[in-house]
Amino acid sequence: MDLKELKAIATREHQKQDKTCIRCCTVGGCLSANGLAVKENLEEAINEAGLGGKVDVSGVGCMGLCSKGPLVRVDPTGTLYDRVTPDNAWGIVASLPKQMDRQSSPRIMPSQYQPNNHPFFTRQLKIVLENSGKIDPERIEEYIAADGYQGLYRVLREMNPESVIETISRSGLRGRGGGGYPTGLKWETVAKAQSDRKFIICNADEGDPGAFMDRSVLESDPHRILEGMAIAAYAVGASQGYIYVRGEYPVAINHLQKAIRQAKRLGLLGSQIFESPFDFKIELRIGAGAFVCGEETALMASIEGKRGIPHPRPPYPAESGLWGYPTLINNVETFANVPTIIRKGSDWFSQIGTEKSKGTKVFSLAGKVCNTGLIEVPMGTTLQQIVQEMGDGVPDGGQAKAVQTGGPSGGCIPTKMFDTPVDYESLSKLGSIMGSGGAIVMDETTNMVDVARFFMEFCMDESCGKCIPCRAGTVQLYQLLTKIREGKSSLADLEKLEALCDMVKQTSLCGLGRSAPNPVISTLHHFRGEYLALIPNHHSV
């Protein structure tokens, strides 16, 4: 494979794309809502109307507005239809521009949420999701037609590893897995490590119970991850990569397997990629349902076939990771940013976002909000814009009370702070974290003590048991929260709760234990009244 062949594939694909194309979401929520049957019926309706060969029907990835699925979009006009049932297929075909005068079936109304007029779409800026919902994730040709693998070409043929790292550093990209560690710096450390073998890992374990960004990217645009990993591997000098993906995501696994096979076939993975001396292989590892395996050292233990138990750092994976070799580990979304940064340059990327948080962030907006789904917004967008404008607020005229970010390691941000711009620093200041991108809206009916207890139960179940503060502390915290919830506690219990939170936070071994008290601390801070209201004989609320 060389650049000419790559461009030839893209050109062939572009010629096909001039036609009208009906794109159906066939992943995630839409798949569960019968999206495949919609697609099959559309194909049938097209044939019946004698349009076979003139109009294409294709399955694509996530279009974002999951709560209104199954979604269907007619291109090139971009008209979106929502809540499409298989029976609607004939109506959609009857509404195609050139079918208007032939009254075969009653037409159906397009969605009130059009990509060009609703803030849910217009407020977005898509880098990671630029191809999601546009290309067929099961065809490498469509990724190539969307400029795919050109970044890898440029890197292998025109750049040395140092300048790749320099580009990523200058872009200001930070890890999207939760911590926000500067990606360029991490790459540099691994590149500098002296070793004849190095590994690279994509963390696709997405443990936050309420987040599905990574799932969506893997299902909708798997080649982007492969390309991002290959670029990183070249930069740090690795020739073997692993993707550790949750067992709960069968479609993502399937699309990744297909993507790896296709990339190998075209020589975009394997030996001497783009006729350069660079070799790179990727293998999948399927997780088996343990939250702690999202933590990097536990994840590596799991790849080695062991129980997913973290070990203290240092040594960091960059020095001694998988089987003791230097290892680079990044999140799915981090890798997904890489091909575009290489193609468009670090200056382009660093213009987006805030001073310290560059680029965009994908959020999975869920909970008590009208429009749930996936959104990608520039860093610095406010929660107000996300919840009220993009999400259309709480259903049935309810009032939002808080947004939970960062899952079991994060916290709840109350409505009065919704004007906070979303970036790493601002969210930490409020006692929450950016986390991997789950944003769950809670309304007046949600009790915050319940929420704290819910997350503590999660951490208690998921604690691996290696260190005592986390193993025993989460149990104690859970019991205290239960006691408060049942109205059997006193003010002294509240003090005990706070002291215990502090202890678990300070002394646990890994991030799981160290952040487990966060939901309690943040709800105590912002919603103390709800705790006090549950304490008998306490009136000074």
Binding site: G28, G29, L31, S32, A33, C66, S67, G69, E206, G207, D208, P209, G210, A211, F212, R215, S216, R246, G247, E248, Y249, R285, I286, G287, A288, G289, A290, F291, S302, I303, E304, G305, K306, R307, G308, S364, A366, G367, K368, T372, G373, L374, Q404, G407, G438, I440, V441, M442, T446, V451, F454, F455, F458, C464
Partner: protein, 169 residues
């Protein structure tokens, strides 16, 4: 024939599934770090991981049985108990929780007289909980016999489970 380190491929029963499992182990060259992949395959073939099966794998990969047992019990995905003919998984992730998943679960527990994590006494239905299926956009979500169903209510989930129990789909 006893299972020995020399002939991990053979198993005394003529069950074809053991041969398929042996092929998987061979594909990974009996490497001990393939343990989780092998367990995945074993559970797919047999439905759950019996003690005998764990021993067989331990021999095949030349690992102490304690290590195999330790790994199999560490991960939620692996089940050491036989499952019912049908399964209903209720998502208890955050998005589903704030949309009333706990209510779905209690309804199911009461209707079928079974605790979450258990199987009904007639072995027809296993009720399981999960932590986020990645279907938060259509919360609350359940999985009935492998099919994800979104926007559930107490009535709709019972209706769906009844369909499965009576018509097998």
């Amino acid at each position: 024939m006893p299972i020995t380190q020399k002939n991990p491929q053979t198993h005394p029963s003529s069950d074809k599934r053991f041969r398929m499992l042996a092929a998987t182990m061979k594909r990974y060259q009996y490497a001990s770090d393939a343990l989780i992949e092998v367990l995945h395959q074993a559970q797919e073939l047999f439905g759950y991981l019996e003690e005998d099966l764990l021993l067989y794998i331990a021999h095949g990969l030349k690992l102490p049985p304690s290590r195999v047992y330790g790994v199999a019990t560490f991960y939620h995905f692996f089940s050491l108990k036989q499952k019912g003919a049908h399964t209903c998984v209720v998502c208890m992730g955050t998005a589903c929780y704030v949309k009333g998943a706990a209510n779905l679960l209690t309804t199911l527990e009461q209707q079928y007289q079974v605790q979450a994590g258990d199987t009904t006494s007639n072995n027809q239905l296993s009720l399981v909980t999960a932590r986020c299926l990645g279907a938060c956009g259509i919360a609350p979500a359940v999985v009935v016999d492998g099919n994800v169903e979104g926007h559930q209510t107490a009535e709709s989930v019972i209706h769906r489970v009844e369909e499965c129990l009576h018509h097998g789909s």
